[in-house]
C-alpha cells in the first residue's frame, strides 16, 4: 500500500477541516440570522441540524421518497419546527429577560432532543451519499464526493442569503429589525413576523447542514449540543452578526479542530473549538469582522 507523506496528511486534515467547518459555518449563519433580528442566541440551533439529518433518513430511507423530493420536504418540516420554537417557546414569554430567553432556548433544545430520542431511539442512522462514495485522490489525500455537496450548499446558502438580505424587501425589513426594532415597527414592519421568519430561515439552513453531513458521519439524536456550541464558536470568531464572519469563522474553526486533532492530540479534538471560543470571548469578543462599538449598543 502506498504510504502517505506528511504533506498529504496535512492536506487531508485541511480537507476534513473545511468540510466540517462548512457545517459549523452553516450553523453559525443560522445563529446570526436569529441574532440579527432578535439578539437572542438560539441554543437549539444544533437541534435543527440533527432533525434535518434524521427526518431526511425517515423520508428518504424509511418512506422511500427520492432524494429530490425528500430534501425540500425535510427542510420544510424542520422549518416548521423552527416556527413552532418561536411561537411556543420565545413568543409566549411575557417579560423577556436575557436569562429567561437563554433558558427558554435551552429548554427547547432538550425538548427537541428528548422527542427525537423517543421517536428515533439512540442509534445512529445513515444516508446514502448523494453522488456515490468513490473517493477522489488529490495530493495523497482522499476526498469524498459528499464533501463537495456540503461545501457547495454552504456557498449556495451564502449567495442566496446575501441576495435576500440586500435585494428583497423582506430581507431588508429583517435587517431593519436587527438595527432598531422600535424604529422598524414605527415604519410599519411587523417585528413579530420578522422574528418568526428568522427562526424559520435558521431552521431551514440547519436542516440543509444536517442533510448534507449525515452521509459522511451518520446522525443521532444527541448530536445537536456540540454542533450548536461549535457553531456559536464559529459565529463569535467571525464576529456575531456578520455573515462573511460566520463563513470564515466556521472554516477556520473546522481547520483548527482538524489540525489540532491530527497534529497535537486526537483525544482533545472537541476541546480545540471550545478553547478557541473562550479565547475569542475573553480577548476579542467582537470577533474578526465584528465591531466593538456596535456590540456595546446591542441590548444583550
Amino acid at each position: 500500500m502506498e504510504t502517505i507523506t506528511f504533506t498529504g496528511q496535512v492536506f487531508q486534515y485541511l480537507v476534513t477541516g473545511i468540510t466540517v467547518g462548512s457545517v459549523y459555518a452553516m450553523v453559525a449563519v443560522g445563529f446570526n440570522i436569529i441574532y440579527n433580528v432578535t439578539e437572542i442566541i438560539n441554543f437549539a440551533q444544533g437541534e435543527f441540524v440533527m432533525l434535518g439529518g434524521l427526518i431526511m433518513v425517515f423520508l428518504h430511507v424509511a418512506v422511500g421518497l427520492p432524494l429530490i423530493l425528500a430534501f425540500p420536504a425535510t427542510v420544510a418540516l424542520v422549518t416548521l419546527v423552527g416556527v413552532l420554537l418561536d411561537r411556543l417557546a420565545i413568543n409566549p414569554i411575557r417579560r423577556p429577560t436575557v436569562l429567561s430567553l437563554i433558558i427558554a432556548t435551552i429548554a427547547a433544545s432538550i425538548l427537541i432532543k428528548g422527542t427525537a430520542m423517543f421517536i428515533w431511539g439512540k442509534d445512529p442512522f445513515d444516508l446514502p451519499a448523494f453522488s456515490g462514495r468513490d473517493p477522489i485522490i488529490v495530493l495523497g489525500a482522499v476526498i469524498q464526493p459528499q464533501y463537495f455537496w456540503v461545501i457547495g450548499f454552504l456557498v449556495l446558502i451564502v449567495i442566496v442569503l446575501t441576495f435576500f438580505f440586500e435585494r428583497t424587501i423582506i430581507g431588508k425589513a429583517m435587517s431593519a429589525c436587527a438595527d432598531n426594532p422600535d424604529a422598524a415597527s414605527l415604519v410599519g414592519i411587523d417585528v413579530k413576523r420578522m422574528v418568526l421568519l428568522s427562526f424559520a430561515l435558521s431552521a431551514a439552513i440547519g436542516a440543509v447542514a444536517g442533510i448534507t453531513m449525515t452521509p459522511i458521519s451518520l446522525m443521532e439524536y444527541d448530536r445537536g449540543a456540540m454542533l450548536a456550541i461549535k457553531g456559536f464558536g464559529a459565529a463569535v470568531l467571525g464576529g456575531l452578526g456578520s455573515f462573511p464572519g460566520a463563513v470564515i469563522g466556521g472554516l477556520i474553526l473546522g481547520v483548527i479542530e482538524s489540525l489540532g486533532a491530527g497534529l497535537i492530540s486526537s483525544g482533545y479534538k472537541d476541546a480545540f473549538a471550545l478553547i478557541v471560543l473562550l479565547f475569542v470571548l475573553f480577548f476579542k469578543p467582537s470577533g474578526i469582522f465584528g465591531n466593538i462599538e456596535i456590540s456595546k449598543i446591542k441590548r444583550f
Partner: protein
C-alpha cells in the same frame, strides 16, 4: 427577596431530623432517605447557583465542572496520596475557588449569552480533561475505592449517618447564605442585578461582587462534589457532564431563582423525579425535563416559590376588576 425568618428554617430542620426515622417506618418510601442524601448534596450546589442567578443575575451553564473538580481533587488526594479526607475537601475548595476566580474574572465581563456560552464551553473542556487525563483521573473508568468520611473513630458508613452529615452541611451553608443575602453584600448584589450601571454609579464595585458570588457558588459545588465522592466511593466523568449542568438550571428555574428556598425545593423535586418518580417513564425523561423548563420559564418565571405571590396578584387583580 423576602425576609427569611427563623420559623421556616426551624420547621425545615425538624422535618429533616425526623425524616430518616419516618422513612424507615414506611416500607413504600424506605429508600427515600438514600435519595434525600443526594437532594442534600445537590442543594449545596443549587443554593450557590441560585445566588448567582437570582441575586447577582449571572448565569452559569457549566456548574457541573466545579462539582466535578471538587469530587476529583478529593478523590485524587485521598486515593493517590492517602491524605485525610477532610483536609482534601478543604484543598479541593481552595483549588476550585482558585479556578473559579481565574475563569470568572474574564467571563463575568461578558454579558448574558456570551457568559452562558463561556461557562458552557468551560464546563465541557473540564469534562474532556476528566476523560483524557487518565493518569490522574483514571479517565473514563473513573476512580475507585475512594475512602468514606469519618470523625475520630466515628465512621459515616450508613445511609442515615451520611444523611445527617450532608444535611448538617446544608444547614450551615443555608444560614450563612441567608446572612450573606441580608448583609450589605446582599444589598449590593441586588443592586447589581437590577441595574449594573446604576449600581456602578453608586460606587458598588460591580465586577468584584460578581466574581465573589461566582467563586462562592463554585466553592459550594466543590463541597458537594467531595461529599458525593466519599459517599459513592467511586466517581467517573459521566456524572459531571453538560446535562447535569442543565439539570441544575432546571432545579433553580423550577424552584424559583429569586428565593433561597427555591433552590432547595427545586433540587428536591427534580432529584426525586430523576431517581424515583420517573422510573416508569424513562423514555420520556428528557422530554419531561425540557417541558418542565419551558413551562416554568413561560408561566412561572419566579418558580414554584413565587406561585403564592403570583396567585395573590391574580386574586387582587380579579378583585379590583369587580
Amino acid at each position: 427577596m423576602l425576609r427569611i425568618g427563623k420559623l421556616p428554617i426551624a420547621l425545615f430542620a425538624g422535618f429533616i431530623i425526623i425524616f430518616p426515622w419516618v422513612a424507615g417506618k414506611v416500607p413504600a418510601i424506605g429508600n427515600y432517605t438514600d435519595i434525600m442524601v443526594f437532594v442534600g448534596i445537590y442543594c449545596l450546589i443549587t443554593i450557590g447557583l441560585g445566588l448567582l442567578m437570582g441575586y447577582a443575575g449571572q448565569i452559569s451553564v457549566g456548574q457541573a465542572a466545579f462539582y466535578g473538580i471538587g469530587a476529583y481533587v478529593s478523590a485524587i488526594l485521598t486515593t493517590r496520596f492517602g491524605l485525610n479526607p477532610w483536609f482534601c475537601m478543604f484543598i479541593a475548595v481552595l483549588i476550585t475557588g482558585g479556578i473559579a476566580f481565574l475563569i470568572g474574572a474574564p467571563s463575568l465581563k461578558l454579558k448574558g449569552h456570551y457568559l452562558a456560552m463561556a461557562t458552557l464551553a468551560f464546563g465541557i473542556i473540564i469534562f474532556i480533561i476528566f476523560n483524557e487525563e487518565a493518569r490522574w483521573t483514571g479517565g473514563p473508568d473513573g476512580m475507585v475505592d475512594i475512602p468514606g468520611l469519618s470523625i475520630f473513630e466515628f465512621d459515616f458508613d450508613s445511609i442515615e449517618k451520611y444523611f445527617y452529615l450532608v444535611w448538617s452541611f446544608v444547614f450551615v451553608i443555608l444560614i450563612f447564605t441567608i446572612n450573606l443575602i441580608q448583609s450589605d453584600t446582599g444589598r449590593a448584589l441586588r443592586a447589581i442585578h437590577t441595574s449594573e450601571t446604576a449600581a456602578n454609579s453608586m460606587g458598588v464595585n460591580v465586577s468584584k461582587f460578581k466574581i465573589l458570588v461566582f467563586v462562592y457558588s463554585a466553592i459550594l459545588a466543590s463541597l458537594a462534589g467531595s461529599l458525593y465522592a466519599h459517599y459513592l466511593n467511586f466517581i467517573n466523568p459521566s456524572t459531571f457532564d453538560l446535562f447535569f449542568s442543565i439539570k441544575l438550571l432546571i432545579m433553580i428555574a423550577l424552584g424559583g431563582m429569586y428565593n433561597i428556598w427555591g433552590a432547595i425545593i427545586g433540587a428536591g423535586i427534580i432529584t426525586f423525579l430523576s431517581y424515583e418518580w420517573l422510573h416508569y417513564f424513562e423514555e420520556f425523561e428528557v422530554i419531561v425535563y425540557g417541558a418542565i423548563l419551558l413551562v416554568v420559564t413561560i408561566f412561572l418565571p419566579n418558580g414554584l416559590v413565587g406561585l403564592p405571590g403570583m396567585l395573590k396578584e391574580l386574586f387582587v387583580r380579579q378583585k379590583s376588576n369587580e
